[in-house]
């Protein structure tokens, strides 16, 4: 029983981290209908930039954090302008493939700059685990959870109340109507990419803190695809909730099914969840039901 509780609590905390990356996917998808498969590499890049700022420039964490966010903003902007905008109106396979290509390029460039060796992140969060009485939460996961909740609330508030947020929702709803109401759809697209990059950079820093950073750490973002499909591709709240559900299920399969098949199920469980959701309810728990069926 204790072990079950522990697994669930760890899953909840890890779910926060998944939710943070899922947020990056959703922010971009919501406004531009593009699924950015380079998200994992964005994440890794964020972690590396923050790491370099901390180590080479020996900046304090808050400065490094702001610098990282600023660079994320710039990166999102540049990528949208150079790569995604010329492809507006092209078939969906082109758009998906271009993000895959982008991911492969980013991975190679990071490999060249930072070499593939594994590094551990300098300690930026207090290392004491949180004692809940019945179970312990490791510090990295706890802070990831906190960051995820704060990030979600900020983005939710932006979407709900700010002018930009409303413009983004309008664009997501109907681009032509938004255009005719005087919203600059181009600006919104660029902004969506910047926000998405920022969310994934924060996710990268948090994950880097938990597992250490290497060029390959971005692979975790592919598991997050299960999260966003479960939560619904265009639902911010769904992203976070999906993160919790997938992380807990993943930990439970690790606990109960691993002994039966000899390990490794934790890595593949999200993909099984993914396929099952796609079969039953492709638009997810909270997504808009716009899938056309033939």
């Amino acid at each position: 029983m204790d072990i079950l509780l522990q697994v669930i609590v760890t899953g909840l905390a890890a779910g926060g981290v998944y939710g943070l990356i899922a947020l990056g996917f959703v922010l971009i998808y919501k406004a531009t209908s593009v699924l950015n498969l380079a998200m994992g590499e964005f994440m890794t890049l964020g972690a590396f930039i923050c790491f370099t700022a901390l180590m080479q420039l020996s900046a304090p964490f808050y400065l490094a954090f702001i610098l990282t966010l600023f660079l994320a903003f710039a990166l999102g902007f540049v990528i949208e302008r150079l790569i995604l905008r010329p492809l507006i109106g092209e078939p969906i396979i082109s758009v998906i493939m271009v993000t895959i290509g982008l991911g492969v390029i980013l991975k190679g460039v990071m490999y060249m700059i930072w070499t593939p060796s594994f590094r551990s992140f300098p300690e930026i969060f207090p290392p004491e685990p949180l004692n809940l009485g019945f179970s312990m939460v490791p510090s990295g996961l706890l802070w990831g959870f906190i960051f995820a909740i704060i990030g979600t609330i900020i983005f939710l508030l932006i979407f709900k109340f700010s002018r930009t947020g409303v413009a983004m929702r309008a664009t997501a709803n109907d681009q032509q109507a938004a255009l005719s109401m005087g919203i600059s759809v181009r600006w919104i697209f660029a902004l969506a990419w910047s926000f998405g990059a920022m969310a994934s950079f924060i996710g990268g820093i948090v994950i880097g803190n938990i597992t250490g950073i290497s060029v390959y750490m971005g692979d975790v973002a592919l598991k997050v695809l299960a999260v966003i499909i479960l939560g619904g591709l265009d639902s911010i709240g769904g992203a976070i909730l999906g993160g919790f559900i997938v992380a807990i299920l993943e930990n439970l399969t690790g606990l109960y099914i691993d002994p039966l098949v000899g390990g490794g199920t934790k890595e593949v469980a999200p993909f099984f969840i993914l396929v099952i959701i796609l079969m039953i309810r492709p638009y997810g728990l909270f997504g808009k039901e716009t899938i056309e069926r033939v």
Binding site: I100, K107, G262
Partner: protein, 347 residues
């Protein structure tokens, strides 16, 4: 002088060999392919074999993605299914290589059809994610179903043989590869001008409209998955027989991306494009390793830079072709051809 492209009936339009020149050059090219193993060294033959496997795999993916418009990020998984089927049949059941080949194709086709079932319900983005999930699930199976696949240690495969003749070296294997490439290209080229090929293209262009004019989406989408995966399975079985060993490392996600890069660079919706793409994307890593050898001699210590270079160049090619030449090398080839054909009155 032949100028313009006039056809008076549909039979003419569907001919494979549109003119005598094509037949002439194709014959010359075949003669070259047949004398090639006698003039080439082993390294060149090795590359030629790899190109052959890539062509078969790329045609399969092009039939599925380029012609039918169903995105697959799991092509490497189907190649893996074919490879493992063949390896297991040869080593466990004592089948000969030749008999295991069709089974490799069929089992891969079955796997492809199972993965293709969601394509009836979901498409575009969602299908892409579903096939990505399939890629990881199959990778997991290859590693963890140890009683069957022997996990990460892999399976060693004896070379194919006809009675006492063993196909062990690159040169001997070249004939097998050549035979299957010609067969595969010929079948695909004929398929795309048949009823089925036209149905595929109709589904790609607008599936609702295709259904309204009487194309059975269920049947044709699944056939596209089956045929595409059949090609992948054959490519996989040939490839691992050539390498003489199969391990799960042979079929990572990157291989799927590599195949997608092939058809994008070569030209989606074109058999010729798959061939160009396969040649191009197989030669680039070889060229890079050649360059790194040179750098090793003249500037030792700098050759490390070439390891990630492969990924960067693949990614750049995907992005640049999608942005600037979405029809790929096949279109460039057509432009060059018509430039010379119409020269000097190109307009």
């Amino acid at each position: 002088m032949r100028c313009g492209d006039f056809k008076e009936d549909y039979i003419k339009d569907e001919e494979i060999f549109q003119s005598y020149f094509v037949k002439f050059w194709l014959t010359l090219f075949f003669i070259f392919l047949i004398i090639f193993p006698f003039i080439a060294n082993y390294y060149m033959l090795y590359v030629a074999n790899m190109i052959g496997f890539a062509i078969i795999g790329a045609i399969g993916l092009n039939l599925l993605t380029g012609f039918t418009g169903q995105i697959s990020l799991g092509h490497a998984a189907f190649i893996g299914v074919g490879a493992y089927t063949s390896a297991i049949m040869i080593t466990r059941l004592g089948f000969s290589f030749w008999l295991s080949l069709p089974f490799a194709g069929l089992v891969a086709a079955l796997a492809g059809m199972i993965i293709g079932i969601p394509s009836l319900r979901v498409k575009g983005l969602y299908l892409c994610i579903a096939t990505l999930a399939a890629q990881f699930i199959f990778e997991f199976i290859f590693v963890h179903w140890e009683s069957m696949t022997k996990g990460i240690t892999g399976i060693h495969i004896p070379p194919p043989r006809i009675s006492s003749l063993e196909f062990t070296t690159e040169k001997e294997f070249y004939w097998i590869t050549l035979f299957f490439v010609v067969l595969g290209v010929g079948y695909a080229r004929n398929l795309v001008r048949s009823k089925m090929g036209r149905a595929f293209v109709a589904i790609r262009d607008r599936d609702l409209a295709a259904e309204i004019i009487g194309i059975n989406l269920f049947r044709y989408k699944l056939s596209a998955f089956a045929i595409g995966s059949f090609y992948a399975g054959i490519a996989g079985a040939l490839w691992v027989s050539f390498l003489k060993v199969v391990t799960p490392d042979h079929f990572p996600l990157f291989l799927s991306i590599q195949y997608l890069a092939m058809i994008i660079v070569g030209g989606m919706g074109s058999i010729l494009g798959s061939i160009f793409g396969a040649i191009f994307m197989t030669l680039i890593p070889e060229l890079l390793s050649y360059l790194s050898e040179i750098v090793k001699i003249y500037a030792p210590g700098n050759e490390e830079i070439f390891v990630p270079m492969k990924g960067v160049i693949f990614g750049l090619l995907i992005v640049l072709f999608l942005l600037f030449e979405p029809l790929g090398l096949a279109e460039i080839w057509n432009r060059i051809k018509s430039f010379f054909r119409l020269w000097p009155f190109s307009y």
